[in-house]
Structures are given as structure tokens and as C-alpha cells.
Amino acid sequence: MNITLQVWRQKGPNDRGKFVTYQVGGVSPEMSFLEMLDLLNERLIREGEEPVAFDHDCREGICGSCGVMIDGQAHGPQLGTATCQLHMRKFKDGATICVEPWRATGFPLVKDLVVDRSSFDHIIEAGGYITVDTGSAPDANLIPVPKEAADSAFDAAACIGCGACVAACPNGAANLFTAAKMSHLNLLPQGQAERWSRAQRMVDTMEEYFGSCTNHGECEKACPKSISIDFIAMMNADYVKAKFKNRRLTGQHT
């Protein structure tokens, strides 16, 4: 296959950046999208041009490192698939493909296709955990968890933290990510003790970095793990409840 790539090149956060067009020949339909970028990079190095920087690691769709906008779609055209699992057989021979980094204020650009997603870590810091010091746990079978609850929690926990939801959102909102991380814990019996403080802190932290959700639903379509926006509804409900519950608890304490 022969592919024409329009790739966003930007040396650093303060550089203006521009699209550069590259012709890539010798592409096999069996290649993954990232292997096609490898092919381009090998050639660029041989020709004396700096290779295109992009984040990637496991190439199995689970680490969440990779992710670029492909023709305006986060992770490209195949539903439920991260960039590293997208294969060139999904494109036509002779196609022109536009490749850009995630575009969101919450993810400042680092270089070329690489962005800084540390804001996600800050959301987890703000209560995206269950407080249980090592060694203090009771026997695992002491708390039965209904299979449906465990399955539902898992559906949320499948989030790989890639940021496609934010990149796909017209508002640059991180509601799907935050909701997935929060719901995973809020759905489980183990997560109840901190449920309301978690809801409030995680949402408040999210809002420091990201835009607001206006229910476009683009995030669900872009999510490589097909995480449902129902979790956003649950997060919103929990946030509202938290406002009342936390206030009442505060009243009891003082």
C-alpha cells in the first residue's frame, strides 16, 4: 500500500507547529498503524530528519500510552480499538491520512504527537482509591459482592487512561475518564466508606483541568474500551448526593 500522511510536527510547547506531508510506500495491510509510523521513522532517520515522536508502549491496547487523532477521530476509525491495535487493512491503498496529537487544554503538548496527561494522575490522587493500608485487609471472601455489581465495576475499571475521551470531546471534558474511575470504586461494597468524599473531590479536581460535559457522547464512541456514558450519569448523581451528605456529615462533626 502507498499512504500519504499529514503529520503534525511541533518541536515543543512553544513552537508554532505545522502539518508535514510524507509519502509512505511499502505499507503492508498486516501492519499496525504504529508499525506504519515506525516504517516512516526508520526512513526519516536514514534521510537525516528527526523521527516523529509519539507515545506508545505495550502495543496490545492495554497500557493507554498511545493515542493520536486519525482523520479527526481519536484512535481512528475502528470502534473500541486503541491506535496500537488499529491495522492498516482498515485503510484504502492510496489514502491520505491526517495524524494529530490529542487536542485539549488539559493535555498540554510536549512534542509532535506527544501530550502531557499528568492531570489524570491528579484526579486519581484526589480520592480515586480505597483507603486500605497493606496488611489491614480482611479475608477476601468475607465481603460477598454480587456478580452483577462486580461485573459493572469491572466495566468501569477497564478504562486504560489514554485520554481519547478528552480528545474527542468538543469541550475537552474528562467526565468519562473521571466517571469510570469513580464508578469502579463507588459500585463496590469496599468503596462505600469514602463514596461521597471521593465523588466530590474527584469532580472538583477534574474541573481544575478540564472543560464541562454537555452530553455530546463523543467520548463513548472514541473510548477504546467502549466505556458507557451511563457512568457519567452515575457520577453526576453521586456528586449531587455528595453535596448534601458531606454537608450533613460536616454538621455532625462541628
Partner: protein, 640 residues
């Protein structure tokens, strides 16, 4: 100068050693813990769990990862499960049985006391992870489900669909982020450790390169913990993530940490076969698939028919035929070699005839497609995405690929390396899996080391340094190390050669896979030992790395990692050559039975080979730790 190896295995009966040891090690009182700074490199299961736990205990912890977030570490890709001797299935499991299976599975090349402790704390790991909210699979009654795995005749594997590693890592990561939130742990992302700093023979700090700015920084601590994973990427094509590397471990080795059993590498039997030259990595299909999938090849060589057109009588379910007792669930090394023999005899399947079938037809007929989908849905989807074939309709094609390295830094019972104050945990050390690791035991070991072993044992060392300040970062020991690191970074940019880093890495990988892969022999290893230094020399004089050292430069990062792989590869081959027996993942052609099974030499090789850096990768020095088996009798491993 040979090492004076003291494994510090506690006295007493096997089931009391750890209990006694915990009582006899020196403790640091809670108010004093904050006076100790511990540097942890790596945030996979081992590193994240250790950082979280040490933070909870009150130590002053700094943790480093080259990823953009701790959650990206490659533990996240582990699929199948985690073992624990809970005996929830009432099928006769016990701590002793898990211990026994692991020692036997490791082909009697691991340290009994360490393995027993691993089996012992496996129970606590499941409790801990469940309390953190790890969504393990459950029965309808709400209790935890189990599945069986290779090398065991009981069901002791806990799992979270096909994403157990992801869920366990997120649990450890969340515990870590809680400590970051509390200010107990300082997190450094996109920070790669490039050397350990020693003073008076002790590890007192590390030198780190910021991958975004290129800044080289100095970090001082009372102890350094390496949790940086394995070195399968020495083969170029492996199931490891692209950035997985040996650099942190190797630089520690060059500073005096002994490297144990480097030739013990695991080739995982169920991976998707390579499809062409451009392949950048191989993808694992969880071993759990062997619970329901049946492995076969056509009975006659060069059978060009499609899988579904080959009738039952023309199929050879070779694992079930050769190993009736364990069938498709034989340990990984046995399954891998059997697959290789089939492909080598011309019975390989697929366009490149480089695989064997893993067939779910019978399982689907027996349990229905829905049941199979519930168990392996995401794995089947992944397979289809990669190969464009539907495994519900046609059998999967699989072939072995480098996956895990049992070898690593030598550690004593306290998980300390031969360098005082330098610890190694998880896959980065050598201690628990002998010559072959059983499935679902890597997650167990990473978390055992991080949650339940290191946090106890590290106090024993630290307590001697109470009220001593960490070595200041302007100490000459730091100056010298920083100078070396800076020179090293610059060296690759100065070469301006003609070939890319990946080109050399691929060539190295081919040599290693051919000569030091699934089977090895003297002539091949000798050849590798002459080819690798030659290629390494070419690498250092002809590699082309563009760009500069003061921005994100992924080629430059990789150039250094590949340079370390070149040195490691030589020590691996040296070790493989020296170990004149077949054991677990180390199969020497010269030492096999008439039926092609591995033949150990317990008289001469029931030991750990520990290699010492001498300044020249071609001439490392060997010291041996003899292994003593007081509980498990050394027998020929039989899975028939």
C-alpha cells in the same frame, strides 16, 4: 574477586522460617521511619506496591518511572491471573502445595525458603487486592471465582477477565497515588534511572535523566530499590512492551550487583505468530486459553488444507498424546518446546507455517459460545483485531515467544543485592521461579515482594543508619557518576553513523533467538559469543541518533538501552554455555533424553550462577550459590 554470597536463609523448619525471620529482623520505630529516605525505581506491581506500603509505614519515599504515569508499567498487560493458595475450591490446595508446584515447575533451580514465603503471603495478596477494589471474577453467590493454570492440578488462579494485571496494577497505583496525595511519596514521571551512586560500597543514590528536558538530576537516599522488570526485549521481538529494558538493572550490575541465572528466560507458548519482517512486537494470548482450547497440528507435514477441512483423524493433539496427565496444561517450557518440534518437523500452520492451532471448537460445542465469550471475550476480540480471523469460527494460530525472564539481579532472603543498600524486587530479581515460571505467578511475586516482603526486610538494613544523613548530592561520588552518565548520553549523538538503533536491535534479537532462545547448543552459543561483540562494535561506531539531548528524544533513550542489551546478551550466552544441563526454559540440545525431554544435572548444577562485572562483557566472573533442597525431593519433572 568472587562474591561472598550469603543468602541469609533463616534457620528452622520451612514453614517457620519467615515467621522467625520477621521476629528476628531489626525494626525501625514509627517515629524514626520518616528519617529514612528510600528511592524506588519502577512503578509496576512490585515498585508501586512497595512505594505505597513503605509510604504507609511512614518512610520518606521517592519513586521514579520513565512512563508518563505509573499506571503504564508493563505489569498492566498481564492477562490470565494470579495464584494464591486459598483453597476456596476445596480441591486440596495448600501453601505447601503451591510451594511444591512452584519449586517443581521451576525445575528445582529456585531457593526453597524464598518460594515457601511467596506461597505463604499469596493469601494476603488476594485479601489486600480485594479490599482495594480489584474487581476479581465472582460467582453468583458473590464469592471469588478461580480458574486453573498450567503446571497445577488445582484451581488456584484468581482473575479479572483477561485483564488481571491491569486491575492489580491499578489497585497498587491507586494505593500509591493515595500516598502521593498524603505527601508521603514523591512521584517522578518521565524520569529514567541511568546509574546507581555508591559510596563506601553502599548504594546511596541514583542519577536520573528527565526524558522531556534531558536534565540529569541527582537523588540521594538511605536505600535504593530496583523494580524495573525483565529483559526479554534483548530478543527484539518479545511480548514485553516496547520500552521494557535492562538498563537500570544492568547499570547496577556494572556497579557491583551480581547478575543471577541470566540464561533462564521463558518462552511463552501461546503468542500470535509473527506475520512479517516489520513486526515490532509479539502479542501474548493468555495461557488461560489452554483451559478450554486444544492444541493440535496436522498429522502429516505440509498439509495445506484449511483447519476446518482437516478431519479429526488427521489431527495430532500432540500435548494430550504425549502428556496425558496434564494434557494442554503442561508448563510453559514443555508446551513451547513441543510446539517448536512440531513446526520444525514441517507441521507448522498459517501463511508462514510458523504456528500451531489452538482450537475452541470442542469447548464451544460443550459449553456454548456464550460461556466461552464470558471467559475469554476480550482475548478473542484482540486476536481478531490483530489477525483478522474469527477464533470462534477458525482455530487460533499460536507460537512461542520470549515473555519473561527468571534470571535477574541476585538477591538474598531480604531481597538485597550484592551491593549493600541496593534491593531488587519483582521480575528484576532472580529469586523465586528457578529455571521456569509457572503461569499466574509473576503477579504473585511482584506483589509479594512489594507489599509483604521488602517492607519488613528493608528495616533490618536501615536501622543501622539511624540518625545519619543521606549522602549530600554534591559529594564526589555523585559528581563522578553524573559525569559518566552525561558522557554516555552524548556519545550516541556524536557517532553520526548510517544505521538506526532499531536495525541493530533487530540483528541482535535474531542472534539471540537463534542461538540463545528456546534451545541452545555449544556451537551456536560460541558463535553468538563471537558475533555479538562484533555487532556491538559496529553499533557503537555506526549507529545514527538524530536530534539533541535537551528535548524528548526517543531514539536517544533507546540507543542507551540497546547498548546495555548488547552487554547483557553476552553474559546470557556465557551463562547458557556454562550451564551444561537442560533445566526449565534453558534447553541445551546436548542434554536431552531420547524422547527429547530436558535432562538436568543435579550433581553439578543444582545451583545459581551469579555473574560479576569485570569491566568486559566477554569475561564476567562466576560465583555459584549452591541450592539446598530439604523439603522437595529432586525428581525428573514428569507431566505425563
Amino acid at each position: 574477586m568472587a562474591f561472598a554470597l550469603d543468602a541469609k536463609v533463616p534457620a528452622g523448619p520451612i514453614d517457620e522460617k519467615w515467621e522467625n525471620h520477621k521476629f528476628s529482623v531489626k525494626l525501625v520505630n514509627p517515629a524514626n521511619k520518616r528519617k529514612f529516605k528510600i528511592l524506588i525505581v519502577g512503578t509496576g506491581l512490585a515498585g508501586a506496591s512497595a512505594a505505597a506500603t513503605l509510604g504507609e509505614l511512614g518512610y520518606d519515599v521517592e519513586v521514579f518511572t520513565f512512563h508518563d504515569s505509573p499506571r503504564r508499567a508493563h505489569s498492566i498487560a498481564a492477562q490470565g491471573g494470579i495464584n494464591a493458595a486459598k483453597n476456596y475450591r476445596n480441591d486440596g490446595d495448600s501453601i505447601y502445595r503451591l510451594f511444591y508446584d512452584t519449586v517443581k515447575g521451576g525445575d528445582y533451580r529456585s531457593r526453597e525458603a524464598n518460594v515457601y514465603r511467596l506461597a505463604d503471603v499469596s493469601l494476603n495478596i488476594i485479601d489486600q487486592a480485594t479490599a482495594q477494589g480489584v474487581p476479581f471474577a465472582r460467582e453468583y453467590g458473590g464469592l471469588l471465582d478461580n480458574r486453573s493454570f498450567g503446571g497445577a492440578q488445582v484451581s488456584r488462579t484468581f482473575y479479572a477477565r483477561g485483564q488481571t494485571g491491569q486491575q492489580l496494577l491499578l489497585g497498587a497505583y491507586q494505593a500509591l497515588m493515595r500516598q502521593v496525595d498524603l505527601g508521603k511519596v514523591k512521584l517522578h514521571t518521565r524520569s529514567e534511572m541511568l546509574d546507581v551512586v555508591l559510596k563506601d560500597g553502599r548504594a546511596v543514590g541514583i542519577v536520573v535523566r528527565n526524558l522531556i528536558t534531558g536534565a540529569i538530576t541527582r537523588h540521594t537516599g538511605h536505600a535504593v530499590v530496583l523494580a524495573t522488570g525483565g529483559y526479554s526485549n534483548v530478543y527484539y521481538l518479545s511480548t514485553n512492551a516496547m520500552a521494557s529494558n535492562v538498563t537500570a538493572v544492568w547499570r547496577a550490575h556494572r556497579k557491583g550487583a551480581g547478575f543471577a541465572n541470566p540464561c533462564f528466560t521463558q518462552i511463552h507458548p501461546t503468542c500470535i505468530p509473527a506475520s512479517d519482517e516489520f513486526q515490532s512486537k509479539l502479542t501474548l494470548m493468555s495461557e488461560s486459553l489452554r483451559n478450554d482450547g486444544r492444541i493440535w497440528v496436522p498429522k502429516k507435514a505440509d498439509d495445506k488444507r484449511a483447519a476446518n477441512e482437516i478431519p479429526e483423524e488427521d489431527r495430532d493433539y500432540y500435548l494430550e498424546r504425549i502428556y496425558p496427565a496434564f494434557g494442554n496444561l503442561v508448563p510453559r517450557d514443555v508446551a513451547s518446546r513441543a510446539a517448536k518440534r512440531m513446526v520444525d518437523s514441517g507441521k507448522g500452520v498459517g501463511p508462514l507455517e510458523n504456528g500451531v492451532f489452538l482450537d475452541f471448537k470442542h469447548a464451544i460445542e460443550r459449553d456454548g459460545q456464550q460461556a466461552i465469550e464470558d471467559r475469554y471475550g476480550n482475548l478473542f476480540e484482540m486476536y481478531e483485531r490483530i489477525t483478522d480471523e474469527n477464533p470462534y469460527k477458525v482455530p487460533m494460530r499460536i507460537y512461542p515467544a520470549p515473555h519473561y525472564t527468571m534470571g535477574g539481579l541476585w538477591v538474598d532472603y531480604n531481597l538485597m543485592t550484592t551491593v549493600p543498600g541496593l534491593y531488587s524486587i519483582g521480575e528484576a530479581n532472580f529469586s523465586d521461579h528457578g529455571a521456569n515460571r509457572l503461569g499466574a505467578s509473576a503477579l504473585m511475586q511482584g506483589l509479594a515482594d512489594g507489599y509483604f516482603v521488602l517492607p519488613y526486610t528493608i528495616g533490618d538494613y536501615l536501622s543501622d543508619y539511624l540518625n545519619t544523613d543521606p549522602v549530600p548530592t554534591d559529594d564526589p561520588a555523585f559528581d563522578e557518576t553524573v559525569q559518566n552518565v552525561e558522557d554516555d548520553v552524548k556519545r550516541f549523538l556524536d557517532v553520526q553513523g548510517s544505521r538506526t538503533v532499531d536495525w541493530f536491535h533487530k540483528e541482535l534479537g535474531k542472534i539471540m533467538l537463534d542461538q540463545c532462545g528456546m534451545s541452545r547448543d555449544e556451537a551456536g552459543l560460541e558463535k553468538a559469543l563471537s558475533d555479538i561483540p562484533a555487532l556491538h562494535e559496529e553499533y557503537r561506531s555506526d549507529v545514527r541518533v538524530l536530534g539533541s539531548a535537551d528535548t524528548l528524544n526517543q531514539s536517544l533513550e533507546k540507543a542507551q538501552r540497546v547498548d546495555d542489551f548488547f552487554e547483557l546478551a553476552q553474559v546470557m550466552c556465557r551463562d547458557a554455555l556454562n550451564r551444561r544441563e537442560s533445566a526449565g526454559g534453558h534447553f541445551r540440545e546436548e542434554y536431552q533424553s531420547e524422547e527429547g525431554e530436558a535432562m538436568r544435572d543435579d550433581e553439578n548444577f543444582a545451583n545459581v550462577s551469579v555473574w560479576e562485572w569485570t569491566g568486559d562483557a566477554a569475561n564476567p566472573e562466576l560465583t555459584v550459590e549452591e541450592l539446598e533442597f530439604e523439603n522437595v525431593a529432586l525428581t525428573t519433572r514428569s507431566y505425563k
